[in-house]
Symmetry: C2
Amino acid sequence: MTDRKQFRDLATPGAAREAIASLDLAPGDEAVPLSDARGRVLEERIDAALDVPGFDRASMDGYAVRGRDTFGADEADPVELDLVGTVHAGSEPDVTVDAGEAAEISTGAVMPGGADAVVMVERTEQLVERGGEALAEGDERAGAVAVRTAVAPGDNVMLAGADVAAGARALGPGTRITPREIGLLSALGVDEVPVRGRPTVGIVSTGDELVRPGGELRSERGEIYDVNSYTIAAGVEEAGGEATLYPHAGDDYEAMERLLVEAAEECDLVLSSGSTSASAVDVIYRVIEDRGDLLLHGVAVKPGKPMLVGELGDSAYVGLPGYPVSALTIFRTFVAPAIRDAAGLPEPQTATVRGKMAVRERYGEGRLRLMPAGLVTDSGGETLVYPVDKGSGATTSLVEADGVVAVDPDTEYLGKGEEVEVRLFSPDVRAPTLLVVGEDDPALSRLLDRLENPRFLPVGSREGLRRLGGGVPDVAFVAGPTERDVESVDLGGWTREWGLVVPAGNPEGVTGLADLVDGDLAFVNRGRDAGIRASFEAAVDEVATDRDASRRDLVDAIDGYEIGTKGFESPARAVARGDADAGLGLRATAESLGLGFVALGEESVRVRANPERTAKPGVEELAAALEAIEENGDILDSLAGYGRL
Amino acid sequence: MTDRKQFRDLATPGAAREAIASLDLAPGDEAVPLSDARGRVLEERIDAALDVPGFDRASMDGYAVRGRDTFGADEADPVELDLVGTVHAGSEPDVTVDAGEAAEISTGAVMPGGADAVVMVERTEQLVERGGEALAEGDERAGAVAVRTAVAPGDNVMLAGADVAAGARALGPGTRITPREIGLLSALGVDEVPVRGRPTVGIVSTGDELVRPGGELRSERGEIYDVNSYTIAAGVEEAGGEATLYPHAGDDYEAMERLLVEAAEECDLVLSSGSTSASAVDVIYRVIEDRGDLLLHGVAVKPGKPMLVGELGDSAYVGLPGYPVSALTIFRTFVAPAIRDAAGLPEPQTATVRGKMAVRERYGEGRLRLMPAGLVTDSGGETLVYPVDKGSGATTSLVEADGVVAVDPDTEYLGKGEEVEVRLFSPDVRAPTLLVVGEDDPALSRLLDRLENPRFLPVGSREGLRRLGGGVPDVAFVAGPTERDVESVDLGGWTREWGLVVPAGNPEGVTGLADLVDGDLAFVNRGRDAGIRASFEAAVDEVATDRDASRRDLVDAIDGYEIGTKGFESPARAVARGDADAGLGLRATAESLGLGFVALGEESVRVRANPERTAKPGVEELAAALEAIEENGDILDSLAGYGRL
């Protein structure tokens, strides 16, 4: 055992894979009802236990006969046979067919004893008289039939077992059960299917600051919602495992030990993800060392340094990093393949895509880099790949990143246009139909709702223009005055009224920008990338010019000017909470939050498209939606202060 | 409404699609717990209801300070600040930081009031003396810290809402929920997710002869297991619907009416599949006409003539053909897209593959042909497509067919090598790694269990060789003497003892073939394609030569010679049931069924590979498995009468 341990240095990615492969995740087998078997994996071979069909079956409507009796019959010279009765599908024949006899039979019915062939009804004629003597109508037994063709024994009869014979190999072990396998199992009468069990995976949450979604969040204590537990649980189920979330019990040694041991007893694999609290991770490390076997501590990948691999009781243990994209990356790269393997499931074909780098990216970090990557398609539908910067925030990059590109330690850079493979975070992930960046705006939100599968990154107008210039996004939404010019195609837009959001009824009697400078108002600003901030600065400059002062003089007098919030509603929400007297915002926001508003101006919001993407279907869809808005105006009419360009 | 009806002539496939699209399958919306949301489709836009993080958050371990206090500090000239306390992650700060003060802080903790930046711990030093005077050890409040760098307000602090701001658009309607969307929803504290409902689909079984898998099958009455209900139910769930199987109540009008009306009241869509009984289909037709609205009766596709489309109450109704492959074909082509559409799910990317025709196939039938097709890969991994003949039986072709190729009415033939698109029966269907045809054999079954994903079609040695010659399969298993020669590569094989399977203890005292000819024994033969049948005929010929008779003379005297069964165990099973005195079979079969055996000879079973496929990985895997058997012999040793070649 101990020779598998290697944590003086960081383990290589290959060693990490081997360490995980050495763990036993294999679940027990189980039997599931046929109706639950879809998507599962057959554990053992299934041989047919019965013949299909289970009886000699008429495959035509007609007459069951002895083939020998029809030899020589044709249109000119039919053979006459005595009718001895009728056999219906789903009932047991109550007649036998002797020489010179026939029985009416329907498709699917059991061949009566004595008969060995069926003459199709079109080649027969039921007789009303025979030898010149009229037959009693409706008296089948007294009837007769003229057969106008010869049939050989076996003709129009499906012998018992002709479809599937008892004893034949039906399905092999490892077969993925899809609807048609369900069909075969049904035909064989199998209603309980032996399948490979799903590996059970316990997810242990660390960090006293984590609260389950739906729980009450006390932000003043620094609590945050637990992102990794649910994300990883969903990843586990997607990989064919069964996830159990263990309630957090505390980060101290005893609580963590109790929790981990309980999870290890109940599950094939235990996963934890790092906490912001270094001490919590340290506690887990000690529990695995004391109570189990720590195989590996840290892997030479970025991210992955905090990764742990070990055993606890009969269970395997892997510790994931704490940053959500990193946790998902390590899970996707090292853990999901092991779960799929234990579940007997192949890597989904849609789990990777190939694409071309949309930008040049430098590396040369000396260790394997697992680069979170976003996808965008060009006009020709080709997939482009760009690195997602984790600087933008844990949650934001979680939604922007579609997967991971593994970059070799010795790769110094990936050139623009170079082909790379992206391991998607889910086989269900698809590149967005449209990648929009820029100014956040309530009309934009509604507009995007009408498009197929857009992705919007609210990075502000300035950063949006910068990214548009970089060539990655399809479209930038740009509000207010802009400093730089970027080559782009204007697709239209709208105007919106901006100004100061104040408490309902405007209790401080704010009338304009001058009150911020001259009064004693607590103000909340927007960040420097916001277009509305540029409009605000332009307005400050105007006042400065009027007063023959510098912008600096004025803004130094505004309490709160320097710190810019990110969200377009953030200043208004601060006002609503009573944390501020005035905030930079839109009339539409003030109205929707029931606050007061002091107008300072109107600014345009323009949709500027990447010139190389105007023929892309997603951009065309956006252009059409913009045109529709300009025509019927529904979205603009529903928002206070909005108008046509 | 009435102008949608069109059943004087068969409807065009386009009209059928339109008729189905005109039906309302839309389910209601629902809210699901976050842990059940994976794979579902968001019904409405979700805007962030809170800031992430919800507080100004330290993003480094270090000291919370007022940035202004550190201006000018560097390594040479540190600034000394009074320590006023410590802030831990997950707890509310109990200090505020005034001018000249600092508070120890850990990553993730809430910034204390007054502080606006964090100095990372590496750029600080906790002082043990100040102004020459020793500080009380452990007395934090009396302590001080030297700061060796300047920080600006906001440095190493993540402002509330910097990741996701309250009011920002988080996810749009129609978003497919994958693990990373679960992550975003977690971060926003959303524990109940508004998703599009799954269309509910009721499946009505027709045909009094159908028995649910697991139920008792009375073959003597012509009963068969219900294949379509479970198959189509699995297809419905794969397409994103929720299937309900309605118990069969009978094929008469009142029972069918009650059942259909009940299903229509409870479901968005009702499906039935045709029965072998024409009258049952007719009854359904009448119920829909009387109680609902029949829009379409029969579509000009092959198969599809029996297709019905209509409305019943508020529910949509589609009647599928009865033959399982046809039912699945029509479901896949017309119904599954409508269910997916109602569920808001895109067509899976793996639902179609392109491949080249492995053979030439003639058409020109004047209507759209939906050709069931099997897949096989060539040595280069390219997908080849071949038509699956439904002559082989309902269940057999269900497992051989991987999907459907739509062939235009005016296509006269598809040439060998022509590229076609195959709509797979399931996105989980993959081409087998190896396509084996030929003689069924218990050693072969065990051998195949060791391969990844083989497909075996037990068509017998003769038909297997014919198919190998046709170029479609990778490998044929051939037993006994063969009539024709086909170019192939011999991969090895084994020998097996064959003869007459007789009741345990051999009560009739059978000693050999002559007893069949001369005695009064009921014999069960194998079909003409079986290699063991060729061995048997060769043995008959030997006896005939000895007796100076013809083969015909001898076989006419064998009761049961003419009718050949399909399965390799079929004759033995007839003996075991008491239906026959002797059956053609293997010593291994006789032993496994506890029967007697009279040896007639030994025959070879050879694995013959398609010369163009020897480099295919699946064939190489088979060759390696065969070699392993020849070396360790485990499979051969476990079967009576088996030996090395």
